[in-house]
Symmetry: D2
Subunit: 352 residues, 4 copies
């Protein structure tokens, strides 16, 4: 089979010919139809993240090994099943849950494999979906998708929408809350749709691009928008909330600059959900944490159960994932470059 | 009536003669028997806290007004009731809930008045218990205490034990969790007793004093102890937890140095509950928040309902609050000075 | 002031001239603009409910005293305030929270006064809103409503919508749940709107009237409907749920016949939320409770905080309470009779 | 290998010679050291349960197939592993989680396999532990137990203690709750120990045997006891709770008679957790459910994560499972008969 792989960080991906895996035990081989292109793939490609004190946090220190086939947003059809795999048949259309854990830690035991102590995520720690086939460790990580469902759009449910959903859940929103969603890109828009669908909160979108804020209103259902480049974000939020401040913030950028601003427009008891992987550091006032009863919550993707809920919502049209651009396997480097340069609105998908 | 008041920050408290209040409406006048001396009284006395970037956060900026009668850990007997006050009678022994809110914000509406947007806490924003009498805004803030219960010990339930309890609840401990409790003073010891009584977690006490760690084992029920002055705290916790790291930390110091260490021995998904008012800042790595799924939780005292639960636990001997030293009203300055200098083990109480 | 009162169960209500109360302490006198007419008023009028074994459960055994001014869905303007009442001013438009508790039980302490051990609900245990004025025990039970909001519609938020909301919350719905809502009258329709707004669940409405089921689809947003008079409800639900059964049922009738049917179409782990006051008994198979892991949950109105959330949702148009008929004070008996005979679609309101 | 099997309901168990299974894929073969004898094995042996209206609920209607090797409380050592099984090695001492699900339903996805739509529990739907070896579908269902831990006692953690723990969790106890535990046999005693260890609630034990109530005080840590044969249970509970009634009941008998009594001594908002499989029916007053806000909660065993927590508690001596009698494989019928006749205090265990 063909796979587009990161052989060495920062170099162009290579399309290599690999042996097609044979599923054993509970394993299932999925023929990839769609593999989403995600910002976190760029970090794999660059070999790391920006940490505090100007440090660079290397992916290899977190257990990533190269060469690696990236791709964790995978939809496809079942090719073949191991002898203990059940419940699915050849040619079934499936969405793959990629945030697989070792299965033995407290997170795994309650179905939060995305938070496993020793993760084995597809496209990160194991071979992913920038390939013709992907080997899934168990049929339990597959979710059937309807015949009528667009597979490119479905693929984005397993990370883009899932990360948005996990963040919305972590924000624990109630109908009279004012929530600020920072970053109105693909994840931010999906978070708005989800907050609209499953909480009754009032949504304030914040971004530095007017076109994105327009989409926030039209596609995301934001009640209000703030352009933090043109307006003072603190003043704007205080005005929109009758000087109360935000009950919750979901920050899809999570850079020093955005979080520093976030901390200035919080109501007492506010939760700040940190999602983005931009990096940098925050100088946090320690005494304000107890006196103001703030919560800073790191949010990382979502559970298999969350993904099933997303499939249900998408099937009934409650949320509408958007795919804007499609690439071939040999365009993987181009896809990542375009994404890095901010030239993909919505989500790019590779069709091997 | 006589009251020991902070007339001006940093100056000795003055015992003043004030008019004894007359309860109206739902108000109740309580004759003070015991008023605990708390670390936060020192911040009121000093006029503020150490903030980030070397800033000093002034209490007057948070709405405190001088002269002020401090004292929020109040037990006493009912002197007289307003015409709409009910359920209690003259001479009833009561514990006073001091963390009173305005009553109209989302926190107040669910009984978390301690987290009110516009707090009216006794001894902070309203006249407190370093006095012969204290005026309580409603009979609903009173909890009857048994004839047999020591009133000095009971008084400490409304802040010292309540803060410990709120922190233990915020840590959301489970029986197979390893929790590190940083600071084995009065609050830390009570947190250990409470974690022992209502969670099944394994408790690791951390402090820089061997005598305190001895008490942690004997009185707090700690399973293990770490002297972070003599041992490397990170190495010690990793060894005690089979290299997994702590599932939760409750930090009763909450200084730059302790929290910086906390962040180094966390298991993925860990909660760090920040309680102490020592102050300073933390340089927080933003990208670690989502990837490690950490939670930083500010914890501030507890609710009236929490206090009722503490009274129930203390009555049955499940927890044992300790009062080590008693002062008269004219010794208020001395009491605060001794506390500041670390010369009160357990809790000091003023008996007006 | 004039008040329409139940002097004796089953007799016509009398419009009596009573002394207008004067607010003291934290009390507030509200001039009633709208007072909703509720099914539970009929039980007060009839003097009781149908219990198990053919017993009649008398309201007087539950502490109700006659003569009584009913009316617990009250919107109006502030007339005057006691000396300790604050935050509101004369002529403010307000919605009244009627489910007032004694303030000292565990439910009251966490803001669930509707579940108080010793309730003092307006229009049930204390004089209610079928009158020109109503005396509210504290300003804390008032919620400001916007100038633009219809007061008749607002009034219904304090019981009709609140009961629906409490039930939806107790059902604990998730986006891939199938919930059956039994009874598509006023409460059922509002429950559908709310389930649509704050959960992502798929809603199946069940009723015996095709016109009500039509409204369920059009106004309630139900995904599917079942006429349980024309179809076998068990067969219908099994077909609609791929033979899985319902994840949750909210039963606004709560009669022997409806609940017996409910118990036949449940998925393992299902919750059955019992709301209606129709009465009768259920022969419950005890061994099925553990083996099937069912939950039967009694749901009674909602909290003040829930009501604030409803006001927020109604203000933004997320839910749309409907008032279909208006009466004068001297038409109170007529209003109750029409409601009893099923001749009021939506909600009737008295404008004193 | 030898296995003691129920060939036909109500007939003596037969020790048969079966082929020893060979583990494939993720499967693990465990050499059984201890297999607990449980009340639910009696129902398998008798072929059913007593249902409502005098009906007999047959186990075969719930999917049980005979001949069947019972035994779901299994501790042993690892004999051999399938090629994809990991994390464990030959001779490791392990406790087996028997409440295995299909893996695809909402319960399984969050780790509650005990509540699966299509359960595959060992010793119920699949071959169990009354045998020399048991085949476990995946290494993920194994939990290592310490060298020093008694294997007979450990075995009882997977059902006896787990069912008690699941029930205690479902009761959602708080430190000022009064909980009545009905049935002071093995499960009841363990529930008392657990309620003592992880809640702060006041425990009232209820039984008809004075010896059991003595054990409830001495071994279970009950605060108070009621002999419901000698005293009127309703009057007794009302006296013990200052006429408030019980905040929660955990009923390990769950027969018509016990639950009818339970329903008479409940405080408003009370939860009744139904655990026992005695059977029969309850005539439930429907209107009382909403007005009194009661909750009836069926509780069935517990999750794998719960079992891990129990192992942690037992290891540290917080709970003390008791095994009172040991049998050989050919004594299986005798063991079940003695249990049925109430002649085993504590727990019986088969050592194949």
């Amino acid at each position: 089979m063909k796979a587009a792989r990161i052989v060495k960080p920062k170099e162009s991906l290579q399309v290599q010919e690999l042996e097609t895996p044979k599923p054993k035990g509970s394993q299932v081989l999925v023929k990839v139809h769609s593999s989403g292109v995600c910002h976190s793939d760029i970090h794999l490609w660059e070999g790391g993240y920006e940490g505090p004190h100007g440090l660079f946090l290397k992916t290899t220190d977190r257990g990533v090994k190269y060469p690696l086939t990236p791709g964790h947003e995978i939809a496809g059809t079942i090719d073949s099943l191991g002898e203990q795999a059940e419940a699915f048949s050849k040619n079934d259309k499936v969405l793959v849950y990629p945030w697989i854990g070792e299965g033995l830690c407290p997170a795994c035991r309650v179905g939060d494999e995305n938070l496993c102590d020793k993760p084995r995520s597809l496209g990160v720690y194991a071979e992913g979906g920038y390939a013709e086939y992907v080997l899934v460790p168990s049929y339990k990580y597959l979710v059937k998708i309807d015949e009528g469902m667009d597979m490119d759009a479905a693929a984005t449910l397993s990370c883009s929408a899932l990360t948005a959903y996990g963040a919305v859940k972590n924000a624990n929103l109630k109908p009279d809350d004012n929530v600020v969603i920072v970053g109105a890109g693909g994840l931010g828009l999906m978070a708005m749709q989800l907050a609209k669908a499953v909480t009754g909160a009032r949504i304030i979108a914040m971004d530095i691009g007017d076109d994105k804020l327009k989409a926030a209103k039209e596609d995301g259902g934001a009640d209000d928008v703030v352009n933090s480049k043109k307006e003072d974000p603190v003043k704007a939020i205080m005005e929109l909330t009758d000087k109360l401040g935000a009950d919750a913030v979901i920050d899809f950028v999570n850079a020093s600059k955005t979080v520093e601003a976030d901390m200035q427009f919080l109501r007492r008891r506010a939760s700040v959900v940190l999602v983005g992987l931009f990096g940098g550091e925050l100088k946090l006032s320690l005494v304000s944490m107890p006196t103001r009863a703030y919560r800073l919550i790191g949010s990382y993707t979502g559970s298999l159960n969350d993904m099933v809920e997303l499939v249900s919502l998408a099937k009934r049209g409650v949320i509408k994932p958007v795919v804007s651009e499609r690439f071939k396997l040999n365009q993987a480097t181009e896809a990542l470059s375009k994404l890095k340069d901010g030239k993909i609105a919505g989500r790019g998908v590779i069709n091997p």
